[in-house]
Amino acid sequence: MSFLAPLFFAGLAAIAVPILVHLIQRERKRVIEFPSLMFVQKIPYQSVRRRRIRHWPLLLMRALAIALIVAAFARPFLRQGAAAIAAAGGSREVVILLDQSASMGYDDHFTRAKDAARSVIGSLGAGDRATLVLFGRNAEESMRATADRGRLEAALDTATLTAGATRYGPALKLAESILTQSQAPRREAVLISDFQRSGWSGAEDVHFGEQIRLIPMSVAGPSVTNLAVPSVTFTRGQFSGQERITVTAGVSNKGNEPATGVPVSLEIDGHAIETVQATVGANASTSVSFAPFTLAGPTMRGLVTAGGDPFPADNSFHFVVTPDRPVSVLVVDGGDRVDTSFYLVKALGIGTAPAFQVETMPVGRVSPAALQNRSVVILNDTMLPPGLAGGALKTFVEQGGGLLVVAADKATWPQNDDLLPARLGAPVDRLSGRGGAIGYLDYSHPAFEVFKAPRSGDFSAAHVLRYRTLEVGPTDRVLARFDDGVTAAAERRVGNGRVIVFGTSLDDSWSDLALKPVYLPLVHQLTKYLARYEPPASWQTVGQVVDLSVLLKGRAERVVVSPSAVRVTVPASEPGLVELSEQGVYEIRPAGSTSAAPADRIAVNLDPAESDLAPMDPPELVAAVTGRAADVTPQAAAAADVSIEDVEKQQGLWWYLLFGGLLLMAAEMLVSNRLSRQERFL
């Protein structure tokens, strides 16, 4: 048994107090006048003193309570325990989690974070090992479990800011896996971050074991001022046959002070278009509209910047504008009636996003050339185009085209052809009552997904008086059924293309579907699905992965140039997955192209959540991860060796002594109260 502060034992002198109280002090409280102490003084004094201590248990309790409290202040610890801890707990396994997300670019946060990491590395003892983990949206080990401080510091020096979002979950999971595998008796994860609240949803399934401690080190400042441009919107218009675009930018202020006279400027292809002064209230947003500009090229890049603050990354917003590309649709009908495709053409003519470029053609005139540059072919109540056109249509579908077959009165299909998802059967009349209706829709299908929500399209309102029975193959997908269970629509994938057959007419001859409100979205959805239409993305977010083959509708060898001018070649044999890790504009050129104009551009912006710098309370995160309150200060954790202070702290004997002392005091109070009730004077 040793003591951390043995000087406190001087306090044992306080034991004299109760003894004096027992011997002298309390008797002196009452003075009795007596004529003469001549005889009293003749009685031996020593015997009197000894006999005056009448309550030995009380005296002992008081003395023991004082002794225990004094011993508690002297902070005792067991040498044996210290040796055990020093022997078994000397080495540490430390995982340094360094936040390198975009938000760490605020002011000098990242520099301070690196300094903090350096101090943790500096505190490593001889037997300690550390892992440096850099994290943003994802986490990666920059340096795996090493005791070499030099290598750790070198890895730390190469750490740079990224444009990624903040997510604590992956980093903490990585730390957990590293520390769980470690055999070191003391395992610690040091999280150095600005503790953005947006980085922690609370739903991450991270839980540290009992042996693992999480030490938060926050570099967040007490207050922040931050302007951000989270998004832009475009309004397209036509002027003199050219497309004109009006850009409206949103500007948000995350600070507690209003921002006045913020210059918000628009650049298109590097040319400044306009600068507008804006005023944004504290914790508020506003929108700024710029003058419209003419869309001159196939892809034009734009940049909106707003003011300046300690976090410049989110003050600029990149985007790419492309000309509106209409979906080309060929409607093939029998040609015997003028208005066969009336409803269909009118419905498709209404669309603007996307716009549909519709051409109607009798089946007899369909040629392979007519299928060129088409996205979708609709066979509206007619047969498969005869001759070469039939084969061309098949090729068209296999190469990615879309085919919609409307099976009504005159629709026929060769028996041996496997393009159609179903065999066409005989027409069925539903003349009794109110007729038939479409009773089932596969809402999980992309084409019908928009109708899933309540009051998003009432198909049952349409009266179907007649329809063709469809015998669907086992590999085909049924999209809709009539109320009697007969298939109303089915889909088959052929090559890269899609074929859908619809079991009743899309005009007013067999049903009144064309007169119902649901008709227009139904036609649009089917056509967009078959055309594999994707709305052009004007920008992406950092961290997203794009598939170039999907984006550019085809495979070829391409060169991707990142905003920091890093060139990556994507061979044609690969799908071309590119992770967008930088803020700015990616340029994608065909390999070997010498043209100055890039083939395509992808604008990439920060995650809008990174602009919200509001920090969370680090102990909150610690409590969520460890299941216990943060009990470790960074300074204590940084101690290199197991000091006797640590040993004493871990053993915590003083607490028991203090508790015992206080308990004795309470007991003493009870006893003395009881005794004093029995006799007026102790």
Partner: protein
Amino acid sequence: MAVSSNAIAGARFVDPTVLSRIGNLELLARNIVDGFINGLHRAPFFGASIDFAEHRGYVAGDDIRRVDWRLYARTDRYYVKQYEADTNTNFTVLFDISRSMSFSSGGVTKLEYGSYLAACLAYLAQRQRDRVGIITFDNEIVTHVPPSAKHFNMVLHTLDRAKAERPGKLSTPLHRMAEHFKRRGILLLISDFYDEPAEIFDAIKPLAFLGNDIIVFHVLDPQEIDFDYDNASSFEDLESREQVPVVPDAFRTQYRALVQAHINTLQQKFSEQRIDYALLNTTEPLDRALFSYLSSRERLMRVR
């Protein structure tokens, strides 16, 4: 009103505590003494200052006028009649007014008790035409009223004004008194005698050697005898102001033994010196004190 069960019938002596309410000492003394005397039926040996004492044979040189001629006629021998000594003797109260006399455990103080006692005895003496005087003292003489037939009121006044304020010591004032007393008389010494017996006798001896009749009243409070305290306390000496922690339970037996030994020693030594000694408790009625005085007077007369 407490009545002593030992009191002679008719002598209704009130409790000293009640007496203390009577402001006038003369009235008090008269009440007590008259009541006492009435109850005593006037003892024959009392107040015979010119009374016949005895006959003795005539020797040459005797005054011829003292020859009892009637006896000569019967017996044909010359006898001389002897009478009591001078009737008007000096009656002096020596009253200790040291601070210890101010002690009281609840009733009257020893000083008050001593005052009543002195007043009563002075009244008795004055009634038989003795000259009364008083000397109060602590560690020195405080007041001196010489014995005189006219000084009774002064004695009462002195008793009334006496205050126990200073520490006392018997030897110094008594030695000075011994130098002062030229004429024999009755000395009534009232004190609590907190001194060593040897010192007390050293102080009293000179007075005794002068031929004075000394009557000693040892006045004590009951607590001084019984030491009947409950709790451990600090006891403070009234005279020296010294404090001593005391646990009465532990002390009592030894203390009582010491006090009793002191009293016994005094009693024994005083009787050896033919000094009349009476221990008085302040809760006792005064009749015992008066009776004690009178019996001693009787005894003195008989011895003579």
